[in-house]
């Protein structure tokens, strides 16, 4: 990776038949999205632009085709692959379709990747509004050169997906991956029978505590616990019970306010380690333990105001927590076919302290829905 040179056809854009393209203006921002990146299967090994400088170097030249979907008025975008820039344009003379989506294909003759020695590499495709210079989309594509000289791509990742680099999987109803611990030692979590299928929802909770260790030794419910930054390993996921079984983390009847079909027997719970606070008369207090006033504030979420007007705050999630929870939620969504609108917060379905699960949902949801 990284030992590669990317190149655009030098006349791309300037040869466009639409030289009178209209610049995007405020309120008329172009939204562009990489639809696909296709790599030419034929690898031109000897026809690289830059000849090998050493006998041991082998240069490959891989033509690629990039399809970009552009939404907005007569559009022109800059396309870059690892910083090398070209242009893609689209315009219709028919005003009636100016606001429709366009697909622009950047032909392989205009975009090539030249690489040295590597058998696999990653390309980064970014689309930038030519006028505003705002980045509309960035995708990462992994390319593997096969032994027969052909090449294949392995899907596209958004920047957030690449940042997350989720590696979790589920085997025999248990989470597998780095930073995952499965143990019954000191675990008080009780099962409530078999996890009923279909699984209806993922419920986000907050421990109102500082550590997994404290929580699992006293909590009766939830399958998963995610460590915070105060104790233990930040972002560590602890699985308290098999996904074959249900746990006891929501009330099925009492104080329920929505989604009555979601029961503790058909929902998976995730407890996120973190403390709660509230503001009274301009001062901030702990909502746990001695409930004393705190003067040195940790990183906090925004205020979540309850129906009595009280401002509740929560520990802001750490980056490690956000990554772990997002990867876990995405995996569970895929494993159990749970749609994103069924990622629910504890307080959405049952009367609880405002912001308990919402602070978690707010932190992860853009990662959940942003990769479509």
């Amino acid at each position: 990776m990284g030992n590669s040179i990317f190149e655009f056809g030098e006349k791309m854009g300037y040869d466009s038949p639409w030289n009178d393209w209209l610049p995007s203006t405020e309120g008329n921002q172009i939204v562009a999205k990489v639809v696909s990146v296709q790599v030419e299967k034929t690898i031109l090994q000897t026809n690289a632009y830059a000849p090998p400088t050493k006998d041991t170097e082998t240069h490959f030249r891989v033509p690629i085709t990039i399809n970009v979907q552009i939404t907005g008025r007569a559009s022109r975008v800059m396309l870059s692959i690892d910083g090398q820039t070209g242009y893609a344009s689209q315009k219709s003379s028919d005003p009636g379709i100016l606001y429709k989506n366009f697909i622009v294909s950047i032909p392989k003759s205009f975009a090539r990747v030249e690489m040295k020695n590597s058998k696999d590499f990653e390309i980064k495709v970014s689309i930038t509004d030519y006028t505003t210079k705002s980045v509309s989309d960035t995708r990462f594509v992994k390319v593997v050169i096969n032994s027969d000289g052909s090449s294949t791509t392995s899907g596209m990742q958004t920047e957030k997906e690449k940042e997350l680099n989720c590696t979790y999987s589920i085997k025999n109803d248990f989470l597998v991956g780095d930073n995952v611990t499965i143990s019954r030692t000191g675990n008080k979590v009780k099962t409530r029978g078999i996890l009923q299928k279909p699984v209806k929802a993922i419920i986000l909770h907050r421990t109102v505590g500082s550590s997994i260790a404290g929580a699992i030794s006293h909590s009766i419910g939830t399958h998963f616990y995610v460590e915070g930054g105060r104790k233990g390993v930040d972002g560590e996921i602890f699985q308290a019970m098999s996904l074959k079984n249900s746990s006891s983390h929501i009330l099925n009847v009492d104080n329920r306010i929505s989604h009555l079909d979601v029961k503790t027997e058909n929902a998976i719970g995730i407890e996120v380690v973190g403390l709660a606070y509230y503001k009274k008369n301009g001062k901030m207090y702990k909502n746990f333990g001695d409930q004393s006033e705190i003067t040195e504030l940790p990183p906090l979420t925004k205020a979540y105001v309850d129906k009595n007007g009280r401002e509740n705050y929560w520990d802001a999630l750490t980056k490690a927590q956000i990554k772990s929870i997002t990867c876990l939620v995405k995996l569970l969504m895929k494993e159990f076919s749970i749609p994103s609108d069924m990622i629910l917060t504890h307080e959405e379905i049952q009367i609880k302290t405002s912001g308990e699960g919402q602070a978690v949902k707010d932190a992860i949801f853009s990662y959940i829905i942003g990769d479509k």
Partner: protein, 237 residues
């Protein structure tokens, strides 16, 4: 259940009476809360009439009568949880003002439960004794009125022990740890002589299981409410 009508009247009427209710049929025992064997309670002589009065005060929202069951030295403790750990707040008396409880950081959903519409509770007659599991979470195994001798009778001291066990994790201040230790001694003394009364019933209107649990001791010959337990009903974390 948390929204049991059992608790509703607590928050309706204003009135403070620092004495506990006279327990006429029991020998008057002087209570020294912290001293060993200071509380005496002969269950066979327990006056059901007094409990019936207590029940009526709840049902009729008569806080002035209800506060007669609160000993100002012991107070009445509200046990609940907002996350995975128990929390508790001690009150000297009940008051009608909702903000009184919110100001003490009792969760609003519990306060809301107190102030919900009253539904008639069953009478506290035919008090049974049970060593069996009467309910768990929202599931009720037996309906009726019980002197609960099951594991939950020590719910308060076990909750305080939990809080002490996590004190290292939670970086509690020494002052708070000292308070927990003091309260642990207090409740261990109280629990050794207390009555845990559990009512379970099915509401006729909704068909829902309802649970109420409260703890009494006899102090100076008077029946005193010392604990309202929201913790053991709650399987929500």
């Amino acid at each position: 259940m948390k929204n049991s009508t059992f608790y509703i009247a607590l928050f309706i009427l204003i009135g403070i009476n620092l004495g506990c209710n006279n327990q006429k049929n029991l020998p008057l025992e002087k209570l020294e809360v912290i001293s060993k064997d200071s509380l005496q309670l002969n269950l066979s002589e327990f006056n059901l009439d007094s409990l019936q009065d207590f029940n009526v005060f709840f049902n009729t929202r008569e806080l002035s009568g209800l506060n007669k069951y609160v000993d100002s030295n012991i107070g009445v403790t509200i046990l609940y949880s907002i996350g995975v750990y128990p929390s508790y707040t001690r009150l000297d008396s009940f008051e009608a003002d909702k903000n009184f409880y919110l100001d003490k950081n009792i969760p609003f959903w519990i306060v809301d439960d107190f102030t919900a519409n009253i539904k008639q509770r069953p009478q506290l007659s035919d008090l049974q004794t049970s060593d069996e599991l009467i309910f768990e979470c929202e599931e009720v195994f037996q309906y009726g009125n019980f002197i609960d001798n099951g594991p939950n009778k020590n719910i308060m001291s076990s909750s305080i022990k939990q809080l002490l066990e996590i004190s290292d994790y939670e970086d509690y201040s020494q002052d708070y740890i000292d308070i927990l230790k003091r309260d642990l001694v207090l409740f261990q003394q109280l629990e050794s002589k207390q009555l845990r009364i559990v009512q379970t019933w099915k509401e006729s209107e909704t068909g829902l299981n309802k649970i109420a649990a409260y703890h009494f001791v006899i102090n100076h010959g008077k029946l005193c409410l010392i604990l309202i337990d929201f913790q053991t009903f709650n399987c929500s974390v």
